[in-house]
Structures are given as structure tokens and as C-alpha cells.
Amino acid sequence: MITNVTLSLAWRNLWRHPRRTWLTVGAMVFSNILLVFLISLQFGMYRVMYENSLRLFTGHLQVQAVGYIDEPRMRLTIPDAAGLAARLRDAMPGNDVAARGLAFALASSADRSYGVQIVGVQPEHEPRVSSLPGLVKRGRFLDNAGMQEAVIGSVLARNLRVDLGHELTLFGTGRDGSFAAGIVHIVGILDSGSAEIDRSFVQISLADFQDIFAMQGHGHSVVLMTSDLFNLKAATAKVEAIIESGESVVHDWNALLPGLKQSVQADMVSAWFMYAVLIVLVAFSVLNTQLMSVLDRTREFGVVMALGLSPARLGRLVLLETAMMAGLGLLLGVAVGSGVVLYFYHYGLTFPGLEAMTAQFNLPGRLYPSASFASLMLGPTVVFLACLAAAIYPAAKLLRMEPVAAMRAV
């Protein structure tokens, strides 16, 4: 039972030692601001990390031949890939679908040769499932099938010493194991920021790809972008119903890019270790303050107990005082923390060395925190609970207090 007077009694008790209370609240506010900011930044980073990584090339779902995911071999194909993509597109409106072929080949310019990854894409559909077409920095993306055009990575262009309009000769192995060769001319140079892609990607149209590598209409994957990357059950089931089972399977992004989710998990674990340390330190602060506050008031508690207040009731009073203090810390922490988050939400956060780091995870050089109720409240709520938990010991001390001894205490 908490009455008005209990509330005001608890509140006034807090301010008997304003400095002590403010220092304790200060520790909470400090941690809360840090937690609000860091957790929001984390949430924002993870979202961008998922979005960017998947949008770059992988997509949310892929249909592939059975076994292709473990051993991406030329002959593990999907028959009539473009046709399957069209059927999926019709059956699942709201999702973007594109078919692809993938091969390794030697790309030769006039003076240089490099081993490259050839990607055959559908020029009209690829821009909706991948961000790469949008990352063409010079020239343009492929616009028509069957024109022997190519878009290549910027590092590869430098290594091959080629530029827009130059020709590339591709040598490789066809689907049937035969020698495959073709000539394409470069219409675009893309700069994705991903070292792997910039160093080794050559994109040509799926039609040309099928021509050069004797694919006979086959492809290696059909990529789907759905509306929600965290809710793929329904979409997966739908795709499964449409593809001819037995030869092809559907994989979600977690299977295609297992490192992604784990990166987030690993980061989460190390981040929460650090948060836990901060929270424990705040809890120590509260423990100290509340224990002192109980010991300081031993005589007073003795008198009140003599008047007939049960120790349990006084214990609740101490918990209530703590809750008020922690509530104050939570309010101030969330308020200031939200301000900090809002600032960086608009202006972004960057520091020296960040770009080189973030490029590894397909993140931009400027990080933006995400501001949601959860991201703002999660940390401070845990701090609040930890503070209450820390007050249990001082509150429990009251249960063992004897009124007569307490009144005699100095």
C-alpha cells in the first residue's frame, strides 16, 4: 500500500542529503545517456548493416539448385531461370525478383588479364533487387539484353587498364565443360565500396551470359527482395510451392550470408558485456548510497518502529526512495540521451578511421542512430531495475533491525 504521505515522505527523505542524491542520480544519468546513445547507434547500425549487405547483392531469398550453396558449380543450374523469375513475379506481387547466372572467367583487356566473377543479370529487373546498378559511378548500367555490354568494378578497371568503351575478352568454362569465350564492351564502372566486388565483378546481361557459357536458358539463382527481411516464412513457403522441388531449393539470407547475423550477434554480446559493467557500477553506487541512508537513519527508524510501523513497511519505503531516485535518473537520462540521439540522427556520427572499418561491413562512413521507443528505453529500464535490485540489501537490513537497539544507535 502506497499512500500520498508515504510518497511525499520518500521524496523528502531523498533530499535530506541533496548532494548525495544528486551524485547517485548523476551516475545513473551518465550511464543512461551512454546506454541510450550506444543502443540507438547499435540499432541504427544493425539495420543499415542488414539492409546494405543484403541489398548489395544477396537479396532476401534465393532459389538455387540443390547443393549450389555449398559448392557453387557451373553445372548446378536452374532450368529456364528467367521464366521462373517471371512466374514468381506474377505469383507474388509486391516482391522483386530477378534471375542471375554466375561464372568465373579470365577477363583480358589489351594489356592485362585477371580472373573475374562474371554475373549475368536481367537489366530490367536487377536494379530492383540489388543496389549495385545504382552504384555505377561512371557510364551507365546495362540497359538491354543481348548487346554484349558489361559493367565492371572500379579496381578491376584500374587493374585491367581499361575505361568506358573498351573491350574485354572473357575466357572460361561453359556449363557443359566446353571452352567458353566472348567479347563485351564496357559501358559502366561501379564503385561499391566492397573490396571483393570492386576487384572482381563483371556484370553482363543474362542473355549474353547464357550465350557465352552455353547455358541453354539456365541460370544459377533467382533473387527475391521481399518487404520484410525478418519475416520470410510466408514468402519462403510461397516460393517453395512454385518451384519444382527436388532440383531447386529456397535459401534465406541467413543461410546465404551466415556471417551477417553472427556479426550482429557477436557485436551484441561484446556491447552488452560493456553495458553490464556500467550497470553494475551504477548499482554499486546505489547500494552505497542507500545503505548509508539506512544506517544514518537508524535512530529514526527505531522510533518509527516503536510507533508500530512494521519493518517490512520501512523496507518498502527504502525501495520506494530508490525507485524515485532511479526514476529521476531514468527521466533525465532518457531526456538528455534522446537529445544526443536526435542530434546525431540528423547530423550523423563519424570519426577518423571509421570509414575504413565500416566499409568492411558495407556500412557508410557516417553512422546514424535509430530512435525508437525500444532503443531509447531499453538501457535505462535495465539500469532502473538494477538500482532497485541494489536497494534490496539495505532494505532487508531493516527487517533485522530491533527498535530498542536502533534507538540507542549513534
Binding site: T3, V5, T6, L9, R12, N13, R16, R299, E300, V303, V304, M305, A306, L307, G308, L309, S310, P311, A312, R313, P403, V404, M407
Partner: protein, 227 residues
């Protein structure tokens, strides 16, 4: 029925190798409306007796009955409840909760008993008036003199109509004018509210107000006179 009844009450403290007999086979009966003073030198067992009667301390042996109920075997929560409803206390010092105003201190016990706000207010104001503090109800203890603080404590002690008020050296920290004033108040309240008062003291001025004077030495009752 008597208000307080002690039968063969003993309370021993072990201090080092010595056993201090703070109460040594005390037998005592106090009736309703009595105004009793416990007197004796310090260490004679006055405070221990008061604590035993008030349920603040457990006797080593013997029985304590308050308002027809045997209390020496009760647990902490029941004792707290018994004190809350049947006993008012006035201590030597540190009587009040420093963060509450005079009126809030008086209301505090009623609050815990669950008395409604308007009734609390009326009764506390009436009592503060009765103890002569009607203009000071919004002051905090630090803004009151020692005598005024004790009067607030008295108001708090009787506000819920307890069967008895236990006062342990209530005048020890007061000047003689304040002490006279406080004792006058006790007598007044005893007559008006018919509350039993048990006051421990070694102050002659206080004893002169007593209608029953119990003298204690070394944990035993040595004199018991009605005046």
C-alpha cells in the same frame, strides 16, 4: 480488567562475563486511567520495564499482558500492530521524523492505520491546538524548540486514542518551564481522554505529578505508593 499486567517478569543482559539483571521478577498491575511514574536511579530498570510493556523488547522470562492480550510471545509484525493500535510513545529525544511537518508527524500513525484524510486532518489539528501548537503545524522539527517537539510527540502519541502512553524520560532534555508545561499537558490528557500514562523519570518535578509512584532499584520494585 487491568491495562497492564506483568507477572514474574525478568530481563537479563549478558555483558561480558556478568549477567545484568535489568528486571528481576517484577510483578505489576496498572489499571485504566492511572497516572504512574516509574522512578529510580539510572540502571534501575525503568526503561527496560517500559520497553517490555511496549513490546519493544522480549523478556527473558515471565508474562506481559496488555489490554487483555499476552504479548511476550508475539512476533515482530504482531507487536508492531499492537503498538500501532494500543500504545503511544514519547521518547527522550529524536522523537519526530525530520522530513515531516508537525501536523504530518501527528498524522503519521493514523495514516498507517488507514484513517481517512479529512478525519486525520481534523484530529491532528485539534490535538495540536490542545498541546498549544496551533500556529506551528506546518513547521518541521528543526524549526521547533525542544519543548515544542516533545509536545508534537505527545500529540502524536495520543492521537489514535491508545489505551496507554509510555513516556521514557520525556523531560530529560527540557528546561524547567517546558518540563512543567509538558507534565501539565500529560495530567490534562489523562483526565480528559482517560488514557493511562506510564512515565519513567528520575526528575523530582515529574514525580510530584504522579498519582502512583513506583520506585525501582536494581531491577526490582521497591516502593509502590498511591498518592
Amino acid at each position: 480488567m487491568s491495562t497492564v499486567c506483568c507477572i514474574d517478569l525478568c530481563r537479563f543482559f549478558v555483558q561480558g562475563e556478568q549477567t545484568v539483571r535489568a528486571l528481576d521478577h517484577v510483578n505489576l498491575e496498572i489499571d485504566k486511567r492511572e497516572f504512574v511514574c516509574l522512578s529510580g536511579p539510572s540502571g534501575s530498570g525503568k526503561t527496560t520495564l517500559l520497553n517490555a510493556i511496549g513490546g519493544l523488547d522480549k523478556p527473558t522470562s515471565g508474562e506481559v499482558w496488555v489490554a487483555g492480550q499476552r504479548i511476550d510471545g508475539l512476533d515482530k509484525a504482531d507487536l508492531a500492530n499492537m503498538r500501532l493500535h494500543h500504545i503511544g510513545f514519547v521518547f527522550q529525544a529524536y522523537n519526530l521524523i525530520p522530513v515531516l511537518t508537525a501536523r504530518e508527524n501527528v498524522e503519521f500513525v493514523m495514516q498507517v492505520q488507514g484513517v481517512t484524510a479529512s478525519e486525520r486532518r481534523d484530529r491532528s489539528m485539534a490535538l495540536l491546538k490542545e498541546v498549544g501548537l496551533e500556529d506551528m503545524e506546518e513547521r518541521r522539527p528543526a524549526q521547533l524548540s525542544g519543548g515544542q517537539q516533545q509536545r508534537v510527540a505527545v500529540a502524536r502519541a495520543i492521537v489514535s486514542n491508545p489505551a496507554m502512553v509510555l513516556a521514557d524520560e520525556p523531560t530529560a532534555n527540557l528546561d524547567s518551564v517546558s518540563a512543567e508545561h509538558l507534565m501539565g499537558l500529560f495530567v490534562n490528557l489523562n483526565e480528559k481522554h482517560q488514557t493511562t500514562f506510564i512515565i519513567s523519570t528520575h526528575d523530582q518535578r515529574v514525580m510530584s505529578y504522579a498519582r502512583r509512584l513506583i520506585g525501582m532499584v536494581d531491577g526490582r520494585i521497591v516502593t509502590d505508593e498511591i498518592r
